[in-house]
C-alpha cells in the first residue's frame, strides 16, 4: 500500500472517530441521572466490542502466541458482553415494571 493510500484511510477513520464522539456526547447528555448506573453497565457491554477484534486475531498462519492471546481476549470480552447486557437488562426491568403501574 502506498503512503497516500494509508493517509487517506487514516483520515477516513479519524473522521469516523470525531463524528462518533460528537454523537456520543449528544446521546449521553439526554440520559436521565436515574438511569446512570444502567448506562454505565450498558456501555460496558458495548466496550466488549473488542470481542470482534479478538475473534479475528491470530488466524491461519499466525504465531501460536497470537492465537492464545486472542483466545484470552475472547474470554474477557465475552464476560463483558454477556454479563454487561444481562445485568443491564435486570436493572432496567426493575425500572420498567414501575412505569406500567
Amino acid at each position: 500500500m502506498s503512503a497516500t493510500h494509508d493517509m487517506q484511510l487514516l483520515l477516513a477513520v479519524v473522521t469516523i472517530l470525531v463524528l462518533a464522539m460528537f454523537l456520543g456526547f449528544e446521546l449521553i447528555t439526554k440520559v436521565p441521572p436515574t438511569l446512570h448506573t444502567p448506562l454505565m453497565s450498558g456501555s460496558n457491554a458495548i466496550s466488549g466490542i473488542t470481542l470482534i477484534g479478538a475473534l479475528s486475531s491470530g488466524g491461519v498462519g499466525q504465531p501460536e502466541m497470537a492465537t492464545y492471546l486472542g483466545m484470552a481476549a475472547v474470554i474477557f470480552a465475552t464476560i463483558n458482553v454477556v454479563g454487561g447486557y444481562m445485568v443491564t437488562n435486570r436493572m432496567l426491568e426493575m425500572f420498567k415494571s414501575k412505569a406500567k403501574k
Partner: protein, 468 residues
C-alpha cells in the same frame, strides 16, 4: 471464491447496521420506559457484529472460539444473575477492568502476529495506545474493585508523596519508552515494558483515591475502557470498534464531568487531591460543634411526629446501601402514603458509590422513579417540607459547604435539608463522613438524631407507625 475486497465490503455492511443499532440503543436509554428496548437493540447489534465476524476467514481456530465464548459467557452470566444491587459498583468496576484487559490482549495479539515490515506509524501508535490504556484500566479497576469491597486495599484516601513521585516516574518512562517503540516498532522489549509499567501505574493512580470519590473513578475508568477499544479499532482498521469505543469513551467522560461538578471539584483535584485523608489543617473541632447540642430520639418519638405530617422527603445515602435498608424504607414510605402523606426522595448526584446508585437500589425496592427527585428540583421545596429523613448520608447534606470557604467541601452543591421544619438523621454515630469533617446540621435545633443501624431503625419506625 469472493475476492478479498468484496469480502471486506460485505462484512462492513453488517458492521454498519450494528453501529446504527448501538446508537439507536443509546437513544432509547433516554427514558426508563424505552430503556429495556434500547438495551436489547444494543445486544442485537453485538450479536450481528459477532456472527458476521465469524464468516471472516482470518479468525481464531473454531474450537478456541467455542471454548472462549463458553467460558466467558458462563462467567458473565453467573456474575450478572448473582450480583446484589448494592454490589453494582463493584461489578461495573470489574467489567471495566475486563474491557481494558481484552483491549491489551487484542493489541498484543495483533502486534505479535504482525511482521515487522507491516507495522507503520498508525499501527504502532494505535497498538501502544490500546495496550497502555487497557493495562491502566485493568489494574486501576481491580484496585477500585478492592477498595469498594473494603478488603485488602484500604477504602479511604491515602496521600503519600511516594505515590506522587512514583506516578510521575511511571508517566515519564511510559512516555519515553512509547516514543522509542513507535520509532522502532520491531523492538518487542519496549512494547512489553510499557505494558508492565502501565500495570503498576494503574495501581498507583487509584490507590490514593478515597471511597467517596469512587463515582468519579468508575466513570473515568469506564471511559478508558471505551478509549482502549477505540484504539484497538485503529490497530485493526475496524470502524465498528472505533464507533462503539468512542461512544463508550464519550459516555464515561460525560459522567465523570457530571460527578466532578456535583462535588464542585476539578478532575485533577479528585484524582490527586486525596479528600478526606488526615492531613488537612484543623477546620472544626467535633466536640465544639456537637457538645450538648445534639438531640437524640427514639423510633417511637419519631413516629409520633410522622403521624401528623403532610410532606416528607427522604434523603438516602451510601449508609442505606450498606445497611440494605431500601426495601424497608419503601415499606415505611407506603405506610406514610396510606395516611395521605406526600413522600419524595431527594437524590444527590454523588450519593452512593457510582452514578445513579441510589436510583437502582430504590428501583429494586419498587419505588416509582417519578418519586426520585434530582437535587436542583427538590432543593426549593425543603422549606415546605415537614420532615426531611436522612438515611446514611452525611457530606452531601453538610451546610458547611455553603458557610465555610475553608472547608474541604466548600462550594459543593448540597441538599438543603436544614430548611425543612424537622430533620431526622438515621446514622450509626456522630463519626464524620468521607470528607472527615463534623456536620453542624446534627447539632441544629430542628434536628433529631436516630442513632443505630439504618435498617433496624427504619424497621422500628415501621413498627411504631403501625401501633399508632
Amino acid at each position: 471464491m469472493l475476492s478479498d475486497t468484496l469480502r471486506q465490503a460485505l462484512v462492513n455492511i453488517p458492521y454498519l447496521i450494528a453501529a446504527f443499532l448501538f446508537i439507536l440503543g443509546l437513544k432509547y436509554l433516554a427514558h426508563p420506559r424505552t430503556a429495556v428496548k434500547g438495551n436489547s437493540l444494543s445486544a442485537l447489534a453485538m450479536l450481528i457484529a459477532i456472527v458476521f465476524t465469524l464468516f471472516d476467514q482470518n479468525i481464531l481456530p473454531v474450537h478456541m472460539i467455542a471454548i472462549g465464548l463458553g467460558i466467558g459467557g458462563t462467567i458473565g452470566a453467573v456474575l450478572a444473575i448473582r450480583v446484589a444491587m448494592t454490589e453494582m459498583p463493584e461489578l461495573v468496576a470489574l467489567f471495566n477492568g475486563f474491557g481494558g484487559l481484552s483491549s491489551v490482549l487484542v493489541a498484543s495479539a495483533a502486534y505479535v502476529g504482525a511482521s515487522t515490515g507491516e507495522i507503520n506509524l498508525q499501527l504502532s501508535i494505535a497498538t501502544i495506545a490500546s495496550a497502555l490504556i487497557g493495562a491502566v484500566t485493568f489494574w486501576g479497576s481491580l484496585i477500585a474493585y478492592l477498595k469498594l469491597r473494603g478488603k485488602v486495599v484500604p477504602s479511604g484516601a491515602v496521600t503519600s508523596p511516594v505515590l506522587k513521585i512514583l506516578n510521575g516516574l511511571f508517566a515519564l518512562s511510559i512516555l519515553g519508552l512509547s516514543v522509542v517503540f513507535v520509532t522502532n516498532p520491531g523492538m518487542e522489549m519496549y512494547f512489553w515494558a510499557v505494558i508492565g509499567i502501565a500495570c503498576f501505574m494503574g495501581i498507583t493512580l487509584v490507590i490514593p483515591i478515597g471511597g467517596a470519590d469512587m463515582p468519579v473513578v468508575i466513570a473515568l475508568l469506564n471511559s478508558y475502557s471505551g478509549l482502549a477499544a477505540c484504539a484497538a479499532g485503529f490497530v485493526l482498521n475496524n470502524n465498528l470498534l472505533i464507533i462503539a469505543g468512542s461512544l463508550v469513551g464519550a459516555s464515561g467522560l460525560i459522567l465523570t464531568q457530571i460527578m466532578c461538578k456535583a462535588m464542585n471539584r476539578s478532575l485533577a483535584n479528585v484524582l490527586f487531591g486525596g479528600l478526606g485523608a488526615q492531613e488537612s489543617g484543623p477546620t472544626m473541632d467535633a466536640d465544639e460543634v456537637y457538645a450538648g447540642k445534639v438531640t437524640s430520639a427514639s423510633a417511637d418519638e419519631a413516629a409520633m411526629i410522622f403521624d401528623s405530617v403532610q410532606r416528607v422527603v427522604i434523603v438516602p445515602g451510601y449508609g442505606m446501601a450498606v445497611a440494605q435498608a431500601q426495601h424497608v424504607v419503601k415499606q415505611f414510605t407506603a405506610l406514610l402514603q396510606d395516611r395521605g402523606t406526600e413522600v419524595l426522595y431527594a437524590i444527590h448526584p454523588v450519593a452512593g458509590r457510582m452514578p445513579g446508585h441510589m436510583n437502582v437500589l430504590l428501583a429494586e425496592a419498587d419505588v416509582p422513579y417519578e418519586q426520585l427527585i434530582e437535587m436542583d428540583d427538590i432543593n426549593p421545596t425543603f422549606p415546605q417540607t415537614d420532615v426531611a429523613l436522612v438515611i446514611g448520608a452525611n457530606d452531601v447534606i453538610n451546610p458547611v459547604a455553603k458557610t465555610d470557604p475553608a472547608s474541604p467541601i466548600a462550594g459543593m452543591p448540597i441538599l438543603d435539608v436544614d430548611q425543612a421544619k424537622t430533620v431526622m438523621v438515621i446514622k450509626r454515630s456522630l463519626s464524620p463522613g468521607f470528607a472527615g469533617i463534623p456536620n453542624p446540621l446534627f447539632a441544629a435545633d430542628n434536628t433529631m438524631m436516630l442513632f443505630g443501624d439504618g435498617k433496624k431503625i427504619v424497621v422500628d419506625l415501621v413498627e411504631a407507625m403501625k401501633e399508632l
